[in-house]
């Protein structure tokens, strides 16, 4: 099967997956105890006010009808409104998602840029000082909770040294670049506005660095392990025997083979970071999906919860497809079927 056909088939298969996901989320959100309408209407709301709100949001209808309405709305591009803020969910997601995406892409880029070389060095100097240092650092990064590091980094780099802003995506007093993608760094680059790009980067760097630490440790450890396994293969011994320089063996042959496992962990980590950026987003007041998800969950705000689940479902599926495609590029022996 050609790669194009394979990708198409996988894309089609996302549809039943998403229907299942929405159904599951819908059922869970409806069977949970709690009275989101009472909460949204306020403490002194009369029964009439609550009933009006229930009617307005279609919550007075039978559950199957509510679900069908939701699904047809999703197809039409109407993902409903927040019961609490009454804002459109799709508009909220289009505001918050690019922020989290930008943060996550930067974090995973930092993790990969530092983690892969660290893993390679660690493997090449197995059980020697560089390996020991790398392993200790990896253990350190994976052990410290992100929220603690976030607070410490905020204090040191934001408050004490004043090198970076304490938080947020952009200086509040300044207008961010006009949205093209919603990712400030990319947008300012597209507008060729380098002052804004510098400001966006200065706000992005510390949160992304903190967010990257956990993944950095995982990527380092997996790269090291894969490299060690690859270095032990017969073809490496043969390449060394015929006099191919070590640098070429490592970069051209060993690393390429070791990268399959690394790519897997990077794609998995990307998904986890995307969904797990909430603590870092909270501490740095980075207005992204994590904060939106937590606030919506605490209020049992049904429509945003459904929308967030849906968008994460789509992103995870796309990451998986992309990972499979990259496998094929790295190892031509892999066949799609």
């Amino acid at each position: 099967m050609s790669i194009r056909l394979y990708v198409l088939r996988r894309l089609v298969l996302i549809i039943p997956l998403l229907i299942g996901l929405t159904l599951l989320t819908f059922i869970i959100s409806r069977v949970l105890p709690g009275d989101p309408v009472g909460l949204a209407a306020g403490p002194q709301a009369t029964a009439e006010i609550k009933e009006a709100l229930r009617r307005e949001f279609g919550l007075d209808q039978p559950l199957p009808a509510q679900y069908l309405n939701y699904l047809t709305g999703v197809v039409r591009g109407d993902w409903g409104e927040s019961l609490y803020s009454r804002r459109s969910v799709i508009a909220d997601i289009s505001t918050y998602f690019p922020a989290t995406l930008e943060l996550t892409i930067t974090a995973i880029a930092i993790a990969a840029a530092l983690g892969v070389p660290a893993g390679v060095i660690s493997a090449l100097y197995r059980n020697k000082l560089p390996d020991q240092i790398t392993r200790v650092l990896a253990l350190f990064f994976v052990s410290f909770p992100a929220f603690w590091l976030a607070m410490i980094f905020q204090l040191i780099f934001g408050l004490e040294l004043g090198w970076f802003p304490v938080g947020r995506r952009f200086a509040a007093i300044e207008t961010p670049p006009a949205a093209i993608t919603g990712m400030y760094v990319l947008d300012s680059l597209l507008h060729l506005d380098f002052e804004s790009m510098r400001m966006a980067l200065s706000h992005l760097f510390v949160p992304a660095l903190v967010l990257s630490f956990g993944s950095l440790a995982s990527i380092t450890r997996i790269t090291r392990a894969s490299m060690l396994e690859a270095l032990d293969k017969d073809y490496v011994r043969m390449e060394r025997a015929i006099g191919i320089p070590n640098r070429v063996i490592v970069t051209k042959y060993v690393l390429r083979n070791a990268m399959i496992a690394t790519i897997t962990i990077i794609s998995l980590e990307f998904g986890w970071l995307l969904a797990g950026a909430v603590l870092v987003e909270t501490i740095f007041d980075f207005p992204g999906m994590g904060l939106y998800a937590v606030e919506s969950s605490l209020r049992l705000d049904f429509q945003p919860i459904m929308g967030i689940t849906l968008i994460y479902g789509v992103v995870f599926s796309l990451i998986n497809i992309l990972t499979d495609v990259v496998y094929g590029i790295l190892d031509p022996r892999i066949r799609y079927g």
Partner: protein, 523 residues
Amino acid sequence: MRNRLLKLLVVAIALMALVVVPVTFAQDENVLLYGGNQDIDNIDPATGENYSINAALVSLYDALFIVRGEDLVPNLVDTWEVNEDATVWTFNLKPNAVFHDGSPVNADAVVYSFSRMMTLQGPPTYRWAGIADANSAAALDADTVQFTLLQPFAPFLGTLSQLYIVNPAIVEANKGDDFGQTYLRTNEAGSGPFTMGRWEIGNVYEFVAVQDYWGGWRSENHPDRALWIIRRDSASQVNSLLANETHIADTIDLIDAARIGETPGYYIENNGGLFTNSLKINTQGEYTSDLNLRLAISYAMNYEALPQVLDVPVQLMPGPTPLGFPGAVEGLDVPTYDLDKAREYLAQTPWPQGGISLDYVYVSGLTFEEVTGLVLLEGLAEIGITLNMTPMLWPDMVAACSDPATGPDIINIFTQPAYLDMDAHLYNQYHSTQWGSYNSCNFYKNERVDELLDTARVTGDAAARAELYNEAQTLIAADQPAVWTFTQNSVLAFNECVQGYDFRPLESLSVLFQDLDMTNCPT
């Protein structure tokens, strides 16, 4: 390979240096940076209401009255009169008030705004439920508006600080099929001291001063722009204030307040408000319907320990009504921490030795609610009662309070009156028609109290009303439907460059941007 690594390192450091230096911009205007704990979800005056929304509404719109300090001050209103039974209220409007588009704020606009509000039946309209409807307001002439209420309602004046007047022309032009709700959620149609600037949802909201505001400015150095910057995390609230990324930080705890107070260039405003905490006891519960048990519980609470163990500044409650609330009865005979008395009352219950177990419900993750419960747990353990600490999500607590059968034995609830009148404080908590709301999660029913609260609502004479409320408070205190614990102080931290803050007990966290005075604030 080593050379390559070195090159990479140099490039990385060069990039870092580019990013590291913070960008600063010189400002020739007063820009107020406010670190707010909460988002501004919705600025439609007919459907939005909470402390952050109110801060926005009072900046963008004018209401008939405004709360300044402890006083209700006429705003759009010039003079007013009321008939004897408090059913007909007539207001003369100030003739110079104008909307941001220059059109006059007249009686028609007031009628339109009130009618829209009552038609939409959004959360703010509970104030007028059963009191008025969409047809209650009428314009007598361009500057005179009259409200004819469905029944007498003496505290009506106090409710009018939430009646923000919208520009009918703008709403009609953007009416859609939802009476302009979609438009007004993120757009303004007001006459207030500020208009909207940047409105970045979930992030930052900008208010731009109307320099020739019809109501005038208190200070020449008023904010030209005010930015509400969302700072959800308390540590980042403090850090951003000290890093001069904000000038005001709200929701500060005691430790942070002490740290800021000791830092030169900053000061703390710590004021006792009306944000009232009580442990509501389900008066219809299996055990807690017994008055003697409720008294035993109340005597087992170590009230004096609370200010010492809580990380928020508090003032102890002297009974059902916070100290300083107009009309609060002083010297009520309410329980203090006295384990002997607790045992005495327990002895008069069907469980004289205790041996029962009660649920204490509080918001999951809220330390000060948990700690308050632990103080009670310790006292109750002394008299043989087990307290089950039961953390819950807030929506679940709201749902539990909808019915006496599901209402917890004891639940930690904060209340805040919506207007400065005893009606706003007592009616929603202790009138039996209010069962089902979390404010009345004690499911209290005393026919005499109901009668007193109903009568006070329709009594115009202030002295007569005060007497009715005195009796109601005394009866409520005797029935002990709650353990009245404390009012939580409002703590705001300021950069010294911002002055002019006037604490408003009723809106304890909402700062009036328009009244502030700024000098050389860093940006």
